[in-house]
Subunit: 192 residues, 4 copies
């Protein structure tokens, strides 16, 4: 089903922590492809470590990428979505958003903050016809780099990137009288 | 998309609080239509009222229908799903499961208990290839009886039954490497 | 601090699932000791087991004791508390209320339902000056029977009954401009 | 009860976003008053506004104060607490941590992140004998500045600062076999 997205995808590079870079890239996208109707925000940076190994200042980039970057992206696409009276903002979150553990101190905090922001956005923009939704990924996605790094794990260990894309796509197709804000995704054998 | 379910639906009557009635109807279904691969549990009974208006004994039927009935249904279909190594159990829950309010004392408690049971089932049966999922309905479904009773409400007030069916259907189609346990559904304009 | 409760405690037996037994015992208490100002509800029954080992009907007594019994007790003491314009209802809940696991299917569901009821009660009765609060016990309480049954565990494994009583007592002493609805209690070394 | 804390309180000024300022002030405190056994972290900054009125960069100071500042403070007191094999870290959080609303976008996100960090800290430091706890304040505290600003509100509208201090003090007195991680505090008449 993921292939339904088509073969005309195009990549654009952007620094999500840089206001002007963000504005420029979305201007470029709008010019080349028309107004954005669906934003999928998957920028993230995982700084692992606990209170003994993390420096306080090292926590801030996680908020800049996961939270402030999301706001920058939403603010860039919002005028066009409002003009259209519709649009989708899908954010890729993580199970860590729901609980802080010693070694995920920084990552969990950034994802918890991001989830809170998604709630704020969904509650404001839903009544305007703009669908804000959050995917809670619980597992390690089966992209080449992680599969290589965890080469001893069986295929069933990994969370499917295709399945995740299908879930994101399904959210964009929902009837607006039955919208989902949040759904979790995990491999069937995952302990949770 | 809901029409993809087909035109060959058949109704069966059952008392979900009666062990032998449950077993009989599922035997009949299996005989006439083959083993059940997807169970959607939507039995519910809403007894409204607060601590001043509810009698303690009146709370028990809510648990019998929403919780024990679910277990009866799951136990009836589980052997066939286990033989097949797959299956879907989709439960129709409610936003009330997440918070108890004065006038939803009995309903919220039954739905909170049902949600807990769904978690227990999902954690046990997921690794066996059986997908247990919970829909959190937040709104009044647009079935004829409710629309008639709330005739002054605009169409946008109601939660779409078709949209809800689409969400349930989508859950049954998920790749098992990316399963959802819980998702919420509400009209786009709903305050939450 | 627990000793501050005094040396004049008296026990009364009651079947919390029996409406008339409940009314009688609270009448007796009121007659002998005056109106109840603090109710601590700790009745519980843990039926362990998962979907394979529990019979649906076996789930119902858990709701009768943990939920309907609580309502019976609250209804028995409520008139006196309302006359006084104050009172405390402290409910002893469990961490299982927050998550359903395979082998706690029945217990977790009953405690989740009880927590929901406590929220309904607190939201209704708080503005009347009656403080409803929930203790979320996360651990095995160090009463003689459990310590004997788990004789191989170190003292630090157990949740202190005295500490739990102190927490309950502290709730009854709170200034009504700073009331707690819910607090968790666990041994310092517990994993959660 | 709050007066039990004594009449020898002393104030120290510090910029919680400045690493060296933090280290200096805690060195000074340790020199003048001995090692810190209880840290109460109440630094906060509320930047109100929604996606239309907040600039992305304005979100970062909230994380610096509520999250990174907490880590700076904990790291400053941790060596002494570890030497003593005990200590208390009490963090003053907010109900906003539990839900993001349109106009609390920045504040709620910072408090959600702070709550996650408190969980990470509590899970790591609890087994070392250091008690990390979170107060969830749900209401407007009755300090002179807020009471003046909301002069039309009755006394019962406000959350008691004394009651909050009592709750914090009670946490520091808990038997370590019955520790609380999180408790909420609100005026008895508050809607929640």
């Amino acid at each position: 089903m993921a292939s339904a997205i088509g073969n005309t995808a195009r990549g654009y590079s952007v620094d999500v922590t840089d206001n002007s870079s963000m504005q420029e890239v979305f201007d470029e996208i709008a010019q080349e492809q028309g107004p954005v109707d669906t934003l999928i925000y998957n920028a993230g940076n995982a700084r692992w470590g606990n209170v003994d190994s993390i420096k306080a200042d090292e926590l801030l980039p996680g908020f800049d990428v996961n939270v402030a970057g999301l706001i920058r992206a939403v603010q860039a696409v919002l005028p066009a979505m409002r003009s259209a009276g519709q649009g989708n903002v899908i954010v890729v979150g993580a199970g860590a958003a729901l609980r802080g553990r010693p070694d995920t101190l920084g990552f969990a905090a950034a994802k918890a903050a991001q989830r809170s922001v998604c709630q704020s956005l969904a509650r404001q923009l839903g009544p305007e016809g703009i669908h804000v939704a959050l995917l809670i990924l619980d597992g390690v996605v089966d992209i080449p780099s992680t599969m290589q790094r965890m080469a001893d794990k069986p295929k069933e260990f990994f969370l499917s990137a295709d399945g995740t894309a299908d879930a994101a796509f399904a959210l964009t197709q929902q009837n607006r009288q039955a919208w989902t804000f949040e759904l979790d995704l995990r491999p069937f054998g995952e302990r949770w």
